[in-house]
């Protein structure tokens, strides 16, 4: 999908929305698979977001300053015998952009609202 200058594509808004939802539920940091699963649950889809699409979107959001990431302490995955996770966090800028996107979505005309899928709560 072609993006407007400075704007977010629906997937990026959905990622920020899911991140905010996880934050409300007490999960401050999330990894890629976790957000992919959350996205599919919200959209009621069985297929998770494609690898390339998901991690490219996460990278874009990080470059825009809406997410920040860190690699978890290597001792944790070594102890649990699994690959390390890259943990993402929604930044205050991301929360502000998400609030703007939700406000813009709410101000759309009702006819357009009917055609578009509503943003996840």
């Amino acid at each position: 999908m072609r993006r407007k200058a400075g704007g977010l594509v629906p997937l990026e808004i959905a990622i920020c929305s899911c991140a905010a939802d996880l934050l409300v539920r007490g999960t401050r940091e999330f990894h890629g698979y976790e957000i992919a699963k959350r996205l599919s649950d919200v959209a009621d889809q069985k297929l998770l977001t494609a690898y390339g699409t998901l991690y490219r979107a996460l990278g874009r959001l990080e470059n825009m300053g809406l997410l920040q990431s860190r690699w978890e302490d290597p001792e944790v995955p070594a102890r649990e015998n699994r690959p390390g996770r890259r943990l993402y966090t929604l930044t205050p800028a991301g929360e502000a952009v998400l609030a703007d996107a939700r406000q813009a979505s709410a101000q759309r005309s009702p006819s357009r609202q009917r055609r578009r899928r509503p943003l996840p709560a």
């Binding site: 698979y33 699963k37 690898y51 390339g52």
Partner: protein
């Protein structure tokens, strides 16, 4: 190797391919993220059967190939031939997937199936044997035997 293992190996191979000759940080980060994602998916108890999981992983791979190629061209320090790189990477991906499909779709020796048609005797059963003829007793003469009456005992 299971079907999920094969499809995960294809995802790893594709990730290695499109991150090939990228700067170390971008390359290692992407590979590690995909590895983590594959592991989390394999450990997720909610996933379906092995073959469905493998198809799911493959679908995620195929759907993300355009973004992978686009990401690759945006990361590559050599921007002289992004279109050629995209084409060659996509062709390589198709070749890898074709090999996988060929391996998966190869004929498998299966046991002979149970025949669906069962041959049964359609003729009616033979009639029961006729009953034996009634036994006829023919008497041609009659003999009357008079037994003397028993003497009373004293």
């Amino acid at each position: 190797m299971t079907a999920l293992g094969v499809s995960s190996a294809i995802v790893r191979a594709w990730t290695r391919l499109y991150t090939w000759r990228l700067p170390g940080l971008a390359r290692d980060t992407r590979r590690a993220e995909i590895e983590s994602d594959l592991w989390e998916y394999s450990q997720d108890r909610a996933v379906a059967s092995d073959i469905l999981s493998a198809l799911h992983v493959l679908a995620r791979l195929i759907a993300g190939i355009p973004d992978d190629v686009s990401w690759r061209t945006s990361q590559s320090p050599l921007r002289t031939g992004p279109m050629r790189a995209a084409i060659s990477l996509t062709a390589a991906a198709i070749a890898v997937l074709g090999t996988w499909v060929y391996v998966v779709a190869a004929p498998i020796e299966l046991p002979a199936p149970v025949p669906l048609v069962k041959v049964v005797d359609v003729y009616p059963p033979p009639p029961p044997p006729p009953p034996p003829p009634p036994r006829v007793i023919r008497r041609t003469s009659w003999t009357i035997v008079i037994h003397p009456a028993p003497q009373p005992s004293r």
